[in-house]
């Protein structure tokens, strides 16, 4: 390592600058820069095809960036992929362990690949930790979605990595399993592990220490949840009452109204220009049957707004 001061380098798990990647002439990741602190849970959010998986793959050496540079755990992502692989656990979006090996055999395989001395013992301990005892001899392909996801998490944490890269780990998993999974992630982070996790779910974003929002290959916002909401400069009114569908249809597209979205029994009406928004909604505020409330935008409002804006810019 060159002259990077040791204290800051030790605190940073991932630091990348200007990463870009194209496939067949289509740029999937554009000039992406980010920093992830050690020991934090960093949420990676964005719509499908936004470049989350590609970015994660570049971080762990599975893809070579076309441009940009960076370090992962202090190692150069271009040159030191081998060293990074030893210290990083990567959980792929699609289950990618061997379906025709049992739970135990899969874990022992991973343990041996990382050169662990007591592969059997390590596998046995992990089976206990992820609660798969009694299923050791079951083939991985026969497990249900939730169990597969636990096994995959177990496999990537088995070699005691310093960084976990989890690519949509909770897609298609029931709420209970999701909650258990997140508890496990927090427990791991408490032990000092850095976790970068991509997700679609807003409630999961709020469980992260920091988040980044990426759309069409561009990193659009990052920071804590509160920071991201504050930086959005979005004004939101929550309306409750009758015939919200009719109101939504009337308001959509009016000046100052950038977004109208139903949330359960209420409606979120948001705009970036607060005064324009207030002028437009003024006639409706006095009408009976609706209750208007000046409120904070939700994270989802912010993200949808970011996505809509980026669509105008990049598409």
């Amino acid at each position: 390592m060159s002259s990077v001061s040791t204290t800051s380098a030790a605190d940073i798990a991932i630091k990348v600058d200007g990463l870009s990647k194209s496939f067949g002439g289509r740029e999937v990741v554009h000039d992406l820069s980010m920093q992830v602190k050690r020991g934090s849970i960093y949420g990676f959010l964005g719509p499908n095809g936004s470049g989350k998986t590609t970015t994660i793959r570049m971080l762990c050496g599975l893809l070579t960036p076309d441009a940009g540079e960076g370090t992962c755990l202090g190692y150069d992502i271009r040159r030191d992929a081998d060293k990074i692989k030893r210290l990083v656990g990567y959980m792929t979006q699609r289950f990618s362990l061997y379906q025709d090996l049992s739970v135990r055999e899969n874990l022992e395989f991973v343990a041996r690949l990382y050169g662990m001395r007591d592969a059997r013992g390590a596998a046995r301990d992990m089976i206990r930790r992820i609660g798969l005892n009694g299923r050791e001899e079951q083939l991985a392909g026969e497990l249900s979605g939730g169990w597969k996801q636990r096994l995959a998490l177990g496999a990537c944490t088995l070699p005691n990595p310093q960084l976990l890269l989890l690519d949509e780990p909770t897609a298609g998993v029931d709420p209970k399993a999701r909650r258990d999974f997140w508890n496990e992630i927090h427990a791991l982070a408490a032990e000092g592990l850095t976790v970068l996790v991509s997700t679609h779910y807003m409630d999961e974003a709020e469980r992260c220490h920091e988040i980044a929002y990426i759309a069409y290959g561009h990193l659009l916002a990052h920071g804590t949840v509160d920071e991201v909401i504050a930086k959005s400069a979005l004004s939101t009114y929550t309306v409750s009452g009758d015939d919200l569908n009719g109101l939504a249809a009337e308001l959509a597209g009016k000046p100052g109204v950038d977004m109208v979205a139903p949330f359960g029994t209420s409606l979120h009406v948001s705009g970036r220009d607060k005064s324009a928004l207030e002028t437009t909604i003024a006639p409706y505020r006095d009408k009976r049957g609706w209750r208007w409330e000046d409120s904070e935008p939700s994270l989802e409002d912010v993200f949808i707004d970011l996505m809509n804006r980026s669509k105008d810019n990049f598409q």
Binding site: C60, L62, T64, K85, T92, R94, F95, S96, Y98, A155
Partner: protein
């Protein structure tokens, strides 16, 4: 859902006109598009029949001519030269080596460097003039009865005609000397003695190739490659891990074939069993390496199977398994030299039928090692360490 429920639901969606044809057509269009995208399969559609036709048409010659022959001349006389010239004029023989001792003569035959040996004994001319009908020895490597058979069968008559023409003595009623044809190693010209050792190599080529040809593509198709690549493993380690189990499988298979060959078909093992086992293991590893190389080149399992076939077909045709190697045109022989089966067939026939030792088999052993190393090098450099 009960049958009546299903029926009532179906009533709601009318069957479109020509439904069968529309759906079949949809499927057909999709298949064509996929086929067109699959460049390798598309190429194979053309390559396989063309290659087969060319090989069968040009390379295969069951009455081979110009076969490599060694001569041992114990006497330098006009008659001896005439006889040799007559032999060469039959077109069956091509004198590639002149030797000076019987030992050298035997060695060349045993190692398969020549298929025939002609010995003109000392005092040949004088014995002919005396009317003693001396013997001219033509020894043939008859492990492949097809290659040796036609040359030996027509030898007497052809030489007689040629000689008569050369010596201007008209058409003598009897030959002034005797041609003693000696079919070595397989005197009864039993084709099973030739086929069974060849089958050891052919079967191993087919099975070994397919075992490893599917190995990398299977990981890619099942999605496990992504996990594997994210872990700290090197291409060489992946290769060895995938080849070594099948070396054992191949060894068991080879033992089975050789065992059945000796027990049921009475094929002897004249040479060393340990040498046969060692070189068979080398051959198995070479084939596994080639199969593994294929799997790093192709994109899916279908292509892997096709590529294996592309390799297997010339192996059968050009290795000397089905048709005499020496009878093939030169270009086909060069192609044959690049195939491991060619070398293994020489090795296995030499050890089993001729009792050859390591010194006879140096060239073919080195050839197998070179082919193996080339395949492994290509595989390791071709193995993509990223998903780019």
């Amino acid at each position: 859902m009960s049958a009546t429920d299903a029926a009532s639901q179906n009533r709601g969606v009318p069957e479109p006109a020509f439904g069968f044809w529309r759906r079949s057509y949809a499927m057909l269009v999709k298949e064509f598009i996929q086929l067109r995208r699959d460049r390798v399969s598309f190429a194979m559609i053309v390559m396989i029949p063309v290659m087969q036709l060319l090989l069968f048409g040009y390379a295969i010659n069951t009455t081979p001519r110009h076969l490599p022959t060694a001569v041992l001349i114990q006497e330098d006389s006009d008659l001896a030269r005439s006889v040799l010239k007559a032999l060469e004029n039959t077109k069956y023989f091509r004198f590639t080596r002149e030797v000076h001792s019987v030992a050298e003569f035997d060695d060349l035959l045993q190692s398969g460097k020549v298929l025939f040996g002609v010995e003109i004994p000392r005092g040949f001319e004088r014995a002919v003039r005396r009317g003693d009908r001396p013997a001219l020895l033509v020894a043939a490597d008859a492990t492949d009865p097809v290659a040796a058979g036609s040359a030996l069968g027509t030898l007497g008559a052809v030489v007689q005609t040629a000689l008569a023409h050369d010596l201007h003595i008209g058409d003598p009623p009897a030959m002034p000397f005797e041609i003693r044809a000696h079919a070595r190693y397989n005197p009864a010209a039993e084709s099973r003695l030739n086929i069974v050792p060849g089958l050891v190599g052919t079967i191993l080529t087919m099975t070994m190739l397919i075992f490893t040809a599917l190995s990398v593509t299977r990981e890619i198709e099942r999605g496990t490659m992504e996990s594997l690549l994210s872990m700290p493993i090197r291409p060489v380690e992946v290769m060895f891990g995938k080849i070594i189990p099948y070396v054992i499988v191949g060894f068991i298979q080879a033992s089975l074939i050789v065992g059945i060959g000796t027990l049921l078909f009475g094929v002897p093992i004249l040479g060393s069993v340990a040498l046969l086992a060692a070189l068979t293991t080398l051959f198995i590893t070479t084939n596994l390496s080639i199969g593994y190389t294929f799997s790093t080149i192709v994109q899916n399992q279908l292509q892997a199977m096709q590529m294996s076939m592309m390799f297997f077909l010339p192996s059968i045709l050009l290795s000397g398994f089905m048709f005499p190697f020496a009878g093939m045109p030169v270009w086909a022989q060069y192609l044959g030299e690049a195939l491991p089966l060619t070398h293994y067939i020489r090795i296995v026939r030499a050890i089993m039928l001729k009792g050859a030792g390591p010194s006879n088999l140096q060239y073919d052993t080195i050839a197998l090692i070179v082919l193996m190393l080339v395949a492994m090098t290509i595989a390791v450099t071709r193995f993509r360490r990223t998903l780019d």
